[in-house]
Symmetry: C2
Subunit: 355 residues, 2 copies
């Protein structure tokens, strides 16, 4: 392990939201300092980071100074401009690597990549205009969902098509952005698997969690998920397949639809993932530490789970529940230090240890 | 709970060592910002705190500004000068309160307080000069141990007396400081109990841990401790007795000698305690969060343990073991981000989950 960063090294983190915040804390636990790069003022991660740079992704001087001040760069979100990555990479390694970012930044590229690995995805078609959309509807049918190829998250940049007549309205919602039409998948439930790959190629997966969404935002993740042993194994192998193909270093979230015909990959996220927050109270090494271990060239934790957990997000005014939740036995709160409560904003989460 | 600090409030912490560091992280987890007050440069806690004030305990302006910037003040060590506390308290509540500090700052006062509660301590005598020491030896016998009344920790400021003839040498080691002679207690092992009391008087205790020391410094804490159920109950009642007598708010470490005749209180520490670090990987709410909950007026966690744990300190060159420990299954590392490795310096610890 000559590539193992020594305690005292600095982890650079692009993005200062709650994921960057929890990555900072995990880095500190291993004796690393963290340096956050974030355009917005007073980022949640700044409260627990050693240093913050407040600058845009178009600020070449700030990017260079940041890259020179850290020993490795990682990120909490995938939509980092390519030019910024080029500048940073000239000075410091970026982990997970560029290929994972390139693929996950574009839904069409991602689906093609996954199918190229022999994995199942929803049927999809690249949409450039109304004609291509109509032709795609002819192939895929309705109901279907139209999404921007890039920059979508938590249900944003999406429009449902109940019938072929919805084509024009749905396309208008994309506001001219390159889009993808995805067919509906009949699934019984959604699970996600949080997988990690080390610098030495070691792969470790946490137990799959079962996700429930509300209004397009993750509501709860429950471990263990309802998943027969064979499908559990499928999920692990499939995740390892993706990580190895990308020579990935770090934690990845892989969302899967469970169907009677097998697992269908919904999407991948080249970072720690909301559906992995349960690991904070279910495992000795959680997803945040696992990610820091990977990008720092450390051996991975084995992902073993010591407790059953239900993770629930606190969105917007759910913060009013905090006083009551604080009283509940077996509930561990994780709040993000965001100054302003807004509707739809992730303010925190809690892990309820159920066994 | 009208006194419950809302997320977004700021916790002021006196002292920026590893305890302040882990308190900062726990505060962040509950959505609080932390502000560290520390005379030394680059304190470990500063890497994970929202703000740091670098100033001495004699800097009235800095103390006032600090107190005005925070919503409650707590501390990671007990030897804070009284004058500084007076200044701070004029602007902001200090928790745990002054009485706990007054008592635990002085070994003679502490023993008198404990005996006043009907608790057993080692036999002791206040030492002012060679005459009082000789007379105390006559009463208490040897072996015995001479300690400074104030400012001792991790075996510092202590001298053993094997025989009455050691009196003069031992007293010289105290360098004129007011001292205490303590008789030796024949004990089978040492346990400590980490107890907490909330603003509303609620008391919660973690399971007692069994401590092993090396060279006067804590080496390991093992939970569960070897302790018959009746003595386990005694330990909890005894800790609750101490906390209630002080109208204490926060976490306290109580070190106990286990003897066939019952439990003997060795010492109390009005703060989170090294022997409570196991709670980080054994409980949903650890001692650091428990302390923050108490001083913030929140309901306490119930102290329930989900795993058996052996905590081991990493002292000085023990840091060389980190690469190997990082590979071990069920080991959770907690490193303190201290720039320089020194002999006898606490650099980190790890929790091994044993069941």
């Amino acid at each position: 392990m000559t590539d193992m960063l020594a305690p005292g090294a600095t982890i650079g983190i692009l993005g200062g939201g709650q994921l960057g915040r929890m990555l900072s804390v995990a880095a500190a636990r291993l004796g690393f300092a963290s340096h956050i790069y974030e355009p917005g003022a007073n980022p949640p991660a700044g409260q627990v980071a050693d240093r913050i740079t407040t600058a845009g992704y178009d600020d070449a001087d700030a990017l260079k100074a940041f890259a020179e001040s850290v020993d490795v760069i990682t990120y909490e979100f995938e939509n980092i401009p390519t030019e910024a990555l080029d500048l940073l990479e000239a000075h410091c390694p970026i982990r997970p690597g560029r290929e994972a970012l390139r693929i996950s930044q574009d839904r069409v590229t991602e689906k093609a990549f996954l199918q190229g690995l022999g994995l199942n995805t929803a049927p999809y078609s690249d949409i450039t205009d109304l004609n291509s959309l109509r032709s795609a509807i002819g192939q895929i049918g309705t109901p279907a969902i139209l999404k921007t190829r890039r920059f979508g998250y938590d249900g944003k940049g999406q429009a449902r098509l109940r019938a072929p007549e919805d084509a024009e309205t749905a396309l208008a919602e994309m506001a001219g952005a390159p889009s993808i039409l995805e067919g509906f998948v009949e699934f019984s439930h959604e699970v996600s698997i949080i997988a990690a790959r080390g610098l030495d190629g070691q792969v470790a997966c946490f137990d799959p969690g079962e996700n429930v969404h509300r209004d397009g935002i993750l509501h709860t993740t429950t471990v263990p998920a309802r998943l027969p042993p064979a499908q559990r194994t499928d999920a692990v192998l499939l995740a390892a397949n993706i990580l190895n193909a990308l020579e990935y270093v770090g934690v990845m979230g892989v969302e899967l639809f469970v169907t009677p015909q097998g697992l269908i990959v919904n999407e991948i996220a080249p970072r720690v993932h909301n559906s992995g927050h349960w690991t904070q109270n279910g495992c000795a090494v959680d997803q945040f530490e696992q990610h820091i271990r990977a990008v720092a060239g450390w051996p991975l934790g084995d992902g073993q789970r010591h407790s059953d957990v239900v993770m629930e997000n606190l969105i917007g005014s759910d913060m009013d529940r905090v006083p009551e939740l604080a009283r509940e036995r077996d509930v561990a709160l994780h709040l993000y230090g965001k100054a302003e409560v807004k509707a739809g904003r992730k303010m925190g989460h809690f892990n309820r240890i159920t066994r």
